[in-house]
Every structure is written in structure tokens, then in C-alpha cells.
Amino acid sequence: MTDVLDVALRLLVVFVVFLTFPLLVGQTEHKVMAHMQGRVGPMYAGGFHGWAQLIADGVKFAQKEDVVPAGADRRIFQLAPAVALLPYLLVLLAIPIGPGEGAVGQVLDAGVFFVLAVMGVGVLGSLMAGWASANKFSLLGGLRTAAQLLAYELPMLLTAASVAMAAGTVSLVGILDAFEWWWLPWQITGALVFFVAGLAELQRPPFDMPVADSEIIFGAYTEYTGLRFALFLLAEYAGIVVLCGLTTVLFLGGWHGPWGADGLGWVWTLLKTAVLAFVVIWLRVSYPRMREDQLQKFAWTLLVPLALAQIALTGVVKVVFL
């Protein structure tokens, strides 16, 4: 009975994190962007800094009519948001937040493979949406999404493999147990490549060519309204949480901290994740969108060679010095 209770409790916690953290990131994005660009936006709802505006937005989304275009492939059109969102919920299950087996939703033997595999599935949602909308802009968005995924999946996998080589395991918990502070400079190239490739996979600026709102009107999501559109937005923010959490776990030592690691491991994890999420938002405000051909060139001629160099470096250090 205690086993069942334990599993239920873990699932509940992960679900609550899944529901709240993306919203927190979304609200932070509103506020950080507002202050960085000197346009404060709605400041009255709820009192302090207009915090309740997010809830008002949610209510607005829920009230809107759910429109399916006449020419669309109805079932796939309606299924797409779920396919885009659910993988991130599954990934959250495997990300350890503190030391020991008590601080992770489910300990997985092949954790790195699991998270990367399931994250890749989420992109299918965008592809389904882009195709099923019966809209040229949506199809263009879907095409660009697919091209981007194919280009950036490889450097992401290669850098994750570099960390797995360093730790000698593909389990996320195992990688954290093996972590030493000097991995930080050792794997820094891999960390940057992983983070940038992850940003591209989430289609966040400056890699948001597939959704480019001023050119192809939000790409695959052009025809979506109301709650389904909100689900796509939620998927994007859940993706930010997952990417930052993963970068923290793989490259920044997760629950390891310079001091006070006893019992406070989860604080370190959350702190690092939050800082990375801030960087994601910062990049959106400060970098212009890259062109489609620049995107492809960036991945194939810069990120992949860098990732391969990182793997070579990891191998040499592992064999010669350890």
C-alpha cells in the first residue's frame, strides 16, 4: 500500500510542477521583457506588478471559441496540442531535483536516452498541426520545424553522449553522482552546444523561424484558437523548464553546490534552472531572428563540429588523465 501511495505522491508532485513551473516562466518572461524593453504593460490586475494578468489571460483563452478550419484534417488538428505537450510531462518524471532516489519522479536506467527520445516526440505535435491546418503558412511552419529538428537533434545527442562518457553512465542520477566541479570547464563547449541546440529545438528566439510571427503568422499554430493555442504556448514554456532542468543536470552539476549541499540540493537545482530560464528570456529580447539558411548553416558547420570536438576532448581526458 505504501508503494502505491509513494508512486501516487511522486506523480502528483511532478504533475503540480508541470502545471505551475511553465506558468512561472511565462509570467517571468512577461515581466522581464517588459522591463528590458521599457514598456511595462498591464500593471494593475491583482495589485503587485499586475501578477493576476496571467490568470486573466488563461480565463480569456478558455472562453474563446475553439475553431477548426473547414478544410482541416479534423482529428489530427485536434490531437496535435496534446502530442506537443504530453512528452514534456513525461520528461519531467525523469529529471532528478536532489540527491538520492527520493528526489526524482522515476529513476531510469537509460535516463539520457529517455529524455532526448521523448523530447523529440514533442516536435511531432508541431508537424501534425502544420500539416492538418490546411494553411500554407502552417505548412511552411511545419516544414521549417522538421528541418530544424533534423539539424539540431544531432549536436544535442552528441553533447549528451559526451557527458555520458565522462560519467560512465547514461542514468541522470548516476551522472549527478559522478559529477565533480572541474567538469564545468571540461564540458563547457558541450554545455553551450547543448543549450543552444535545445533552444533551437524549442523554436525559441533567435531560432524561431518556424513560428516567425511577422512572416508566416506563427507557422504551425496559425489556425489555432482558444484553449488549444494556449496548450501550444504551455508546451513551449514546459519545454523551457525541461531544457533548463536538463542542462542543469547534465552540465551544471544539478544539486551540487559550492556550499550547503546537505538537504539544500533541490534549492541549487531550482536556482540554476531559474537562471538558465532567465537567459532564455534574455536571448529572446536581445537577439534578432536568424534566417532559415543561417539556421541550417549554424547547426551543420558550427554546432556539430564543436560537439564532435567536445567528444574527442572528453575521450582524451578520460583515457589519459582519469
Binding site: D73, D109, A117, W131, K136
Partner: protein, 231 residues
Amino acid sequence: MSTAATAGALTAGTLRRAAESPGFLSPTGVEITFLLVGLVTLGAAVVTVTTRQLVHAALWLVVALGGLAIEYLLLTAEFIAWVQVLIYVGSVVVLLLFGLMLTRAPIGRSPDADSGNRPVALAVAVVAAGALVWVVVDAFRTTWIDLDGAPSGTTEVTGASLFQHWVLPFEALSVLLLAALVGAIVLSRKANAGSEPGASGEPGAPGVKDTAPPGTATGVTRARRDQEGDR
């Protein structure tokens, strides 16, 4: 008389083996789940090859491949299961969808996508399935996975056997993949050089006009050409 005797002996043998093996006559939850997921996978696979909507076929393929991954999980082969999702669902199907969208992916039925080879395909499929079922059942009839014992499909076990006992096939496969890679580059170079002077459209993307403005194809090919030039 003799046939009845052999049949009786066979039945007795099967029954004895069934009684010896754990849980054949009283299926456990895992076995029932395995069977149900198998049925879903089979159904999705059949729909994949029979549906007349191209993109639906690709999406049903996702269901079939995902079902296979779950079957691997139930057989305790965790590593293989996640690799299956990563490679097939995450990359191969995305590539497939990309190709479909780039060429022709109409919403609704596409009756012209039928090659008229249904009977032959059915015959090949039945023969292949029959041979596989026969051989696999015959080989692993009495093999059971001990769920409570040491894990048998973890990354560590898989890696050790792959790189200790199966290194040669593994390396041979990688040489094969390398050859495919080089071949792909050679082919794409040739096509590129042939259509260089004054070519308005790329011959590789004929059906684009059905679904997308012509700008799509030229944009993508221009990007590709830029890459080629850099290489």
C-alpha cells in the same frame, strides 16, 4: 492410428512444457499487457499499409513503432526501447513527414498513391510473418525472463555484450552506414551540378505546387546549395 499417436504425444509434450513453464496457463498482468499492446501495434501496422491517406499512414506508423517500444520495455529491454523511440519515432518518422510535406501531402485521400501491388505485398507479408512467428516461437518457446533476478536488458548489459561479443558486426554496420553516407553525398552532388545553369526549379521537388507556394522549394534548396558550397 500412428498420426493420432504422434498428435497425442505432441499435445502431451506441449502440455508438459506449458505446465513446467511459469505462468503459461495463468497469465500475469505483464503478459496480458504484452498481448494487448501487441494487438494495438498489429492493428496500427495494418492501418499504416491499408489507409489511403499518406500522412495518416505516417502517423499510424508512429503508433506502431511506439507500441513496439512498449513491448521492448515489457521484455525488460529498456535501452532498446528508448533507442527505438529516439531513432524511429523521433527521427525517421520526422524525416518521413518532412519528405511528404515537401513533395505531396494532400489532406484527404490520395487514390493515385496505390501501386496496384496489393496481392503480392500481402503474400510477401504473410510469408514473412509466418516464417518469423514460426522461427521465433520455435527458438524461444521455453525461454522465460526472470523479472526478479538480475536485470538483463539494461544499458550496461547491452553495452557489454555489444562491445565484447558483437564488436565485428557492430563495426561492419558502421562501415555500411558510412558507405551510405558517402553515397548520398555523391548522388546529391551530381544532381546539383546537372541543374546548375539557368535551372528555374529543382527536379527533386515536383509536387510542391499542390500544397505550398513555389517559394518553399527554392528557399529550402537555396539553403541546401549554400551548405553544399561550403562543404
